[in-house]
């Protein structure tokens, strides 16, 4: 399968940052549009990386290397994408709920989502409900991710989902973290649940594409 892939896609998968600039220039010289390069060359590379991760063939550090190659490519293409009005299809706001400082799980989810070409606005940790609501109003995401690791901050997750609903914001909410469950997610009015960072893209896409 690898042999059938475009060289730029292969370079993304292998995380070959130094090769990216010349490969993009080759694509542009061949008449490919910036948006098509993202959609047909870069995103398939990151999707393949995600699949390999799901098959336990590679680890997060390998994904991050590929992610840096993707970032390098987007940096080159960004002026052309802006000129053409091309933006990532989806945008997400993510944070660890108020009272909770654990951020590594949240960071991993953000990384996974970025790899799936979702624009991610990371609010950090210990995020009050009002700040989440304000960020949604400011950035207009389709998706919100909320994380917690403590049993005693699960009520803050409930408060945050309630604040989003009370504000009447049309956004899908996916929750996760060690003490949470699918049942808890439903109980507090979230739309989705991700048991771990590895499942976060599937959970997000199920909500985003199911909600089209």
């Amino acid at each position: 399968m690898m042999n059938e892939l475009h060289p730029l896609t292969k370079a993304i998968i292998a995380g070959q940052r130094k090769e990216i600039a010349s490969l993009i220039q080759q694509c542009l010289a061949a008449g490919e549009k910036a948006g098509d390069i993202v959609e047909k060359r870069l995103v398939p590379g990151m999707m393949e990386v995600g699949e390999r991760f799901k098959r336990n063939e590679i680890f997060v550090p390998d994904m991050l290397i590929a992610g840096r190659a993707m970032k390098e490519a987007l940096k080159i293409l960004e002026p052309l994408l802006v000129e053409a009005g091309v933006k990532p299809e989806y945008r997400a706001v993510i944070g660890t709920v108020e009272g909770d400082l654990h951020d590594i799980g949240k960071n991993l989810v953000a990384m996974m989502w970025k790899g799936a070409n979702i624009e991610v606005i990371d609010l950090g940790v210990n995020v009050p409900p009002a700040k989440v609501v304000a960020a949604i109003q400011q950035h207009n995401p389709q998706l919100v991710g909320l994380s917690t690791l403590l049993t005693t901050t699960m009520p803050a997750m409930r408060d945050t989902v309630k604040a989003i609903r009370d504000a009447g914001l049309a956004v899908k909410v996916v929750v996760g973290g060690a003490p949470t469950t699918m049942e808890f997610a439903k109980e507090i009015g979230a739309d989705g649940y991700s048991p771990d960072a590895g499942s976060a893209v599937d959970a997000a896409m199920a909500l985003l594409q199911g909600g089209k």
Binding site: F59, L64, G99, L101, N107, L150, T152, P155, A197
Partner: protein, 460 residues
Amino acid sequence: MHYQSLSISDPADLIFGLAPKPVTTRSGMVIGGGTVYPELNFTLPPMRIDAATMPEVRRNYEQIIEGALRRAAELEAPGVVIEFETLPPMTEHPAWGLDIVKTLLDGMQHEKDRTGLKSVLRMTPNDNREFERPPLMRHGYYWETMLELFDGSAAGGAELLSIESVGGKELHDDALVNGDLAASLFSLCILGERDMRFLWTQLNKIADKRGVKCAGDTACGFGNTAMVLAEQKMIPRVFAAVVRAITAVRSLVAYECGAVGPGKDCGYENPILKAITGYPMAMEGKTSACAHLSPMGNLAAACCDTWSNESVQNIKLLGGMAPTCYMEQLAYDCRLMNTARSHGKESARQLQRWLVESDVALDPQAFIISPASAVELARVIVASDSHYHAGAAVARKAVELLRAAHSQGKLHVAPNEVAWFDTMQDVLDELPESESEFIARQLALADRARFLPAEYGLEA
């Protein structure tokens, strides 16, 4: 290094229930003196903590301590360590934390009066300094409230002081997900070492003033984060195992500053520390599956002096409330170890071998804290002349031990992890000899938005 020789140099002597320097509590428990004690830790069920819910919070802890200690007494436990690890609001509002300290001590006294059960309270305030981003490590509101809680707890009767300190964690999480061994070394042996020295010097003053003991710290937010990520297949197990070896250099600083054990339960690096210091250590393994999974459920008990469950929610199980059920599990595990010891040294060593052999070949992280590995790693730490050099040396030794065990067929390493031996070795080979050069190099690479060098006594 403060410690320049080993207290335990024979892996067979790195064994449960016995430490060269035991700790005697006010109640007469001798930890490391030939008996393994259960150490129970617990947390609240899903609920909010604020002024309005504090009565309910207190009721939970009353229920926990009453049920667990009653069961310990029924099972004729020789004594019990109770660990109170606060939740963030209880450190931020010391009065709330102290309220629970009193609740627990009252419960412990009640059971002593009722049945004679010996017990001791380990106080572990949650390290809230991370609430500031970047963290203020040596001053400010979170630092002051944390010290206030330590002091009040010690004055109130908590006899063992511990913490899961977080100095360096603001960079270490990224080091883990990037598989960056040099950044891990910087976080643990430069930032962590400096923070531990500052923190534990303060804690030792409190302990001296109040006549209590500094027990020990743990690299939980570092080594256990790595372990959980490896368990979830996010990072390689061999990488997590090498990080674990380095964490020993960081956790050792507590003992250099006056801690005497028992080391904190979730410090899976404790076997290395026991070999160096001779102080008793708490350990946790299969009985901590309620909090997190691990690949060394039996092996972790091989050299424990107290046997812990890490943390369990106060929820109802079929057998009873979860802390009571976990007290029973811990008590039976300890009874088995103490029975083996009562049959003499060879019986104890036989059980130690079984605990080790059941796990050691199946996971690099189990292998690296086995008594044999722990003594070898401890030896390179005490032979080093600085914490930086100790961290680098112990990482090199860990890679060497893991690679050799794998090549000899003594250790299972997943095929997609084998290349990481070379990856890690390359990083270690490129480390500068000079600590100042290493610090300058890492400061140039580090995300300055995440940490303040001055909080670690480093020049920006």
